[in-house]
Symmetry: D3
Subunit: 163 residues, 6 copies
């Protein structure tokens, strides 16, 4: 089988892939994920987001800051200078789900999928942290790439894949 795992060289050794010669293009990635919480936590979060004690505001900051740290966390990721990072939440109250999406962007030689996925993951972990005194039975679910544009491999859209 041909080596398609680009993070290994022909001898099977891990490498930070050489992207020096790649073209600089506009890159954007959107990642999403969810956390399933109890009724009580859902009520507390909804109250907070319209007033003080806002869990989601803290999680938003954590997610943005984590997206900037991706190159430190993921061993073979290239360090990147993001020029945009945003975190958005939507709440599906009846399903006890809080959804997060993270959008990152830059002009560079390599994609920003991992930055978006890391931002979404840490935002969800922060929600867990802030609510765990109430109930530890939360579950983080369905962290995935929604869309990425730019680069040689072109556009990826979640909707063109079954999940």
């Amino acid at each position: 089988m041909e080596n398609k795992l680009t993070h290994f060289d022909q001898n099977g050794n891990a490498v930070m892939v050489d992207v020096t010669g790649k073209e600089i293009t506009l890159r954007e990635a959107v990642a999403a994920g969810s956390i399933r919480v109890s009724d009580e936590i859902m009520r507390m979060i909804l109250e907070g987001s319209s007033a003080k004690g806002d869990v989601l505001s803290v999680a938003r900051i954590a997610g943005i800051m984590a997206s900037k740290k991706t190159g430190e966390l993921i061993p073979l990721c290239h360090p990147l200078m993001l020029t945009k990072s945003t975190i958005d939440f939507t709440v599906e109250e009846d399903k006890n789900l809080i959804h997060v999406s993270c959008t990152v962007r830059l002009e560079g030689k390599t994609g920003v999928e991992m930055e978006a996925l890391t931002g979404a993951s840490v935002a969800l972990l922060t929600i867990y942290d802030m609510c765990k005194a109430v109930d530890k039975n939360m579950v983080i679910e369905q962290i995935h790439l929604v869309r990425k544009t730019g680069g040689k491999s072109g556009t990826y859209e979640e909707s063109t894949h079954e999940r």
Copy 2:
């Protein structure tokens, strides 16, 4: 409603909770999660784990290192000196699932749930990173706390909760 979100004070301001006076006890936490991959990626990972080019070895290191960085990533987490951190993988080949669990331990004043959850999350993100050149349609699933022991709130076992 009484304030049960301990990361906020009575005015709704975020705080790093005062644990100075808490008792030092042995604390352990186990967190788990999974990543759903394509047939092709599953085959590559299984080949690698028995030879060179081992995706899971890199992800294991990333998860252990991330568990040590939890206090930097999660805004209101106390910095902690872990005395154990391990990452284990099991593969459910027929379901295209790779499962990770992260176990952390210390003697301290506060629990290590977030360290275990962060270690598991970053291990899964690293698998995503190393396989994304083959297929970006992976999904990280079911990150949750399996068990924690120690501290005033006692033992938590996932099995005593419905999910």
Copy 3:
């Protein structure tokens, strides 16, 4: 002159002072500082703090996170595991001043003055960052130690000193 600058050895070389043999006691420090802003920024901050777009909430998180990073920023500081870190703001609207105070605590062998001062400083810098698109003519003022307790040198109270 006797060497009272404890961060240098007898040859004038910088050292991280040996505190290994010091007693573990409860240590607390409170530091404070202010930022002087324009009328327009003051109005925006006051609006935000009662609704969405809250500058002070972001600055609070930044200050808490920075207090945890003090040992990385100040070259000869001992790394410390804070067990409490809080940031509080008060606004003197007529003087166009926002005051911050940072309180940190732990049981340890060395004091936490630098952690409190660093937390206050970064909270103020974050206010500057978030308001600088409106007006760059802000001034950060009067960062100082308010109080510290614990350790061999005992209690320090700002009020017992002229400033």
Copy 4:
């Protein structure tokens, strides 16, 4: 009131502003600040700077290193690759004041005001740390932007503002 706090979106949520489309220009910023010290500390610092045991040399290194870490400390700052960072001190012996200025520079899409302010702040905090065994009654004062050039908003000069 129109939203002029660019770090919030139209819903009041914090964002790392999108600067992807901005022009790359030469950017420079100079920030300054001071620390007020006792006679005894002033004498020690002056002795050290002409010999061994030099407080200001350590503070200079700390300030330069901190300017590189700005994107980690200030939540919504873009990570930036500085191409110059310097710290300079001047001493006003009769006023017991040590003045610091930090100059940073790069060619980029966004300004470097925060990097200069952070470098100056951490240099001052380091002076505090190194002298606090002698006297804790020091005060950090007047941290402000002196000048910035480059970018769409053009040049800012402190002298054109009253303070």
Copy 5:
């Protein structure tokens, strides 16, 4: 004597050199070094590298990650966005030597020698860490620059120098 230590200004103060105006060129650096180990450790490493328990795989990841952190470790280094980083090992079994080389690359305004040297150093330190339970009498040797290309000072080749 003329000032050729470019990291100091004309007053002898340390600076992060201004490279803003330098040309962007392709830069590459290769650094190497060795660790001398006991017979027993050599045997264990050789066994591991052909199976599980692979010391060199962990050291490779550590070296790559450290090369990305160079700007945080070396005070006056410019932060750089590496576009390639690889670590390679060769074993001289009869001399009980493990050799590491680290190759880094980017298009930028300043060279990447320190990144290559830091990557090699941390890879060697990681081998020490993983084998020190067996024998602490290892020695890290001969860390040096093998080659660098790009930039105004042109190509440097170790072979053109005596050592």
Copy 6:
């Protein structure tokens, strides 16, 4: 062969070893290493160390700061709260050698050998960085453990081993 590489479990997977149950004892480690430089660099360093432009002062700060970061750099090292870290230099002018030693100390459950070795290594790398504009043909040599005390394995003294 019995598994003596404690950083791997029985399946050959890397782990951060469990030291939770180990006794807290006073631990100290001293590591040393050298850098071989040209006549010209030796002369510049000697001039600087008695005046301004002091290469060794910057390297000392870098080494102390790096010893605090060891747990971030070496993947399976436990994070540790050092209570002492010092860097000392001696110069063998006739051999063109600068020798560094790093001494670290704490009361803890695990040794500080890696912290001492990392501090020495980064001090040497910093000397390289600051002199490389004069001559890149420097070599870092003989980084090794001089002594460690404390813990179950007792005292290690370099002098009891051949090298």
